[in-house]
């Protein structure tokens, strides 16, 4: 089976990579572009560890074929903030010491950043609902909630 050419925008740069028809977008990001921030937890859209922004919206990248990203705009955790210029959600996660094992964190941060972008001043209920699709096996949800609440107060929704 011939590989296909995937052209899309990844973290603000034009990307062109060869992918197999059966590669998921998560496979392409991790294996072909070296972007290992998004993780494969379940592979079936239940855990949220692979959350990225697809045309600005949070999606499970394990449920998209790589070629479905043709012509689309993809952002991974690597493109959300930079060292020294972190996204407010990232800053708040550092300050509150949210990560434990860390595996779920890129997905949670991407879900939270998308939530604050759509809803800059969420209620606690809305924050809980916004990260309902992200599982943390360390069960560190209390600190996530505190950090996202603080990031919302710091105006995260007006950036990103």
């Amino acid at each position: 089976m011939p590989k296909q050419v995937l052209s899309c925008t990844v973290n603000d740069e034009a990307a062109e990579v060869l992918v197999q028809p059966w590669d998921t977008l998560l496979d392409a990001l991790r294996e072909r572009m070296g972007l290992t921030g998004p993780k494969e937890g379940c592979g079936t859209g239940d855990c949220g560890a692979c959350t990225i922004h697809f045309d600005g919206k949070p999606v499970a990248s394990c449920l998209l074929l790589a070629m479905q990203a043709r012509g689309h705009v993809v952002r991974t955790i690597e493109g959300l903030g930079k060292p020294g210029a972190l996204h407010p959600v990232q800053e708040a996660f550092v300050k509150h010491g949210v990560p434990q094992c860390g595996f779920c964190i890129p997905g949670v941060v991407m879900a939270a950043a998308a939530l604050l972008n759509e809803n800059p001043h969420p209620t606690e209920e809305e924050i809980r609902y916004g990260i309902a699709g992200n599982l943390c096996r360390c069960t560190g949800y209390t600190k996530m909630l505190a950090a996202i609440t603080e990031a919302a107060g710091a105006g995260a929704g007006r950036r990103s």
Binding site: P21, T24, G43, G45, V59, L63, L64, L65, G133
Partner: protein, 289 residues
């Protein structure tokens, strides 16, 4: 995932041609939230996958003449949840979209996928039954329309032939003084599958119900209407007593099974409770509109 050939059509015509060429060897890929997990688990092993994401017509939402609505089969659950034209007059459909999976899944999962998978618990089916929607289907022999109540033929089976595609859902305008509501019961509040789902739609004129629709999910092999319950409301003023009577009649329409999500008796109880609640909300919305 097993290897497959990936076809990337840019138009509905090309989709129909690809499907005609590959027939039952092919699977249509819309949101992928049901298809890809099944392919990863090797429950499905299509030789060909036809990706619908390049076909813009399937993602369109159109308000027609007379304020009816056409919703493309590849419109996402998240779009249904947020779209103003859907929320303003077809609120029960927006409510069902808001209940599917997580936001990461709702941004992918599609209306057509929910219907074509034909799970008895499909959340988007009852609102469409209550809104008198028609499925617009196309294939090599042209287009046909099927009332959504006749679209489902069994658990995971629909009227679609192997060479046909669901294009859109067409709904007539509910009219003035009409209101609807969809509710389901799940043990968890999010990311769960309905034990029972109920959609109601009431239309009023001069304090009398001119049209009632009550549709049930996860209580039979296919989503179904509780027609006796509807008839008990039509031509009457909708009172709490008549709502209670309709809820009792809706229970009689249900043919639930017992499984890991709930016993048949529990499901009948839920039909009564959710029918009463959705009718009460539909009545309030119809009165306010």
């Amino acid at each position: 995932m097993r290897r497959f050939e990936l076809v990337l059509p840019e138009s509905l015509d090309d989709c129909v041609k690809a499907l005609a060429r590959h027939g039952s060897e092919a699977k249509l890929l819309a949101g992928g939230t049901d298809l890809l997990p099944q392919m990863k688990n090797a429950l499905l092993k299509p030789a060909v996958v036809i990706d619908l994401s390049g076909v813009s017509r399937l993602r369109a939402i159109e308000s027609g003449n007379g304020q009816g609505l056409k919703v493309g089969a590849a419109v996402t659950a998240r779009t249904l949840e947020l779209d103003r034209s859907v929320r303003s007059r077809f609120l029960s459909l927006a409510e069902s979209g808001a209940l599917v999976g997580s936001v990461q899944v709702r941004n992918l999962a599609t209306l057509g996928g929910n219907l074509c998978n034909a799970a008895p618990s499909a959340d988007m089916a009852p609102p469409l039954l209550a809104l008198d929607a028609e499925a617009v289907i196309t294939g090599p022999k042209g287009e046909r329309r099927v009332p959504i109540a006749a679209f489902f033929t069994g658990v995971r089976h629909t009227v679609l032939a192997p060479d046909e595609i669901l294009v859109e859902l067409a709904m007539p305008a509910p009219g003035a003084h009409s209101g609807g509501n969809y509710l389901r019961h799940t043990p968890r509040r999010e990311l769960d599958i309905a034990v029972v789902g109920v959609a109601s739609q009431l239309t009023l004129a001069n304090g009398v119900c001119t049209k009632a629709r009550i549709a049930l999910a996860a209580v039979a092999p296919v989503p179904l209407r509780a027609t006796a319950a509807e008839q008990a409301l039509e031509g009457q003023a909708v009172t709490p007593e008549r709502i209670a009577r309709a809820a009792d009649l809706a229970v009689e329409a249900a043919r639930p099974i017992s499984d890991q999500r709930g016993s048949a008796d529990f499901r009948r109880h839920l039909v009564r409770v959710l029918t009463r609640r959705t009718l009460t909300t539909a009545l309030a919305r119809a009165s306010a509109s």
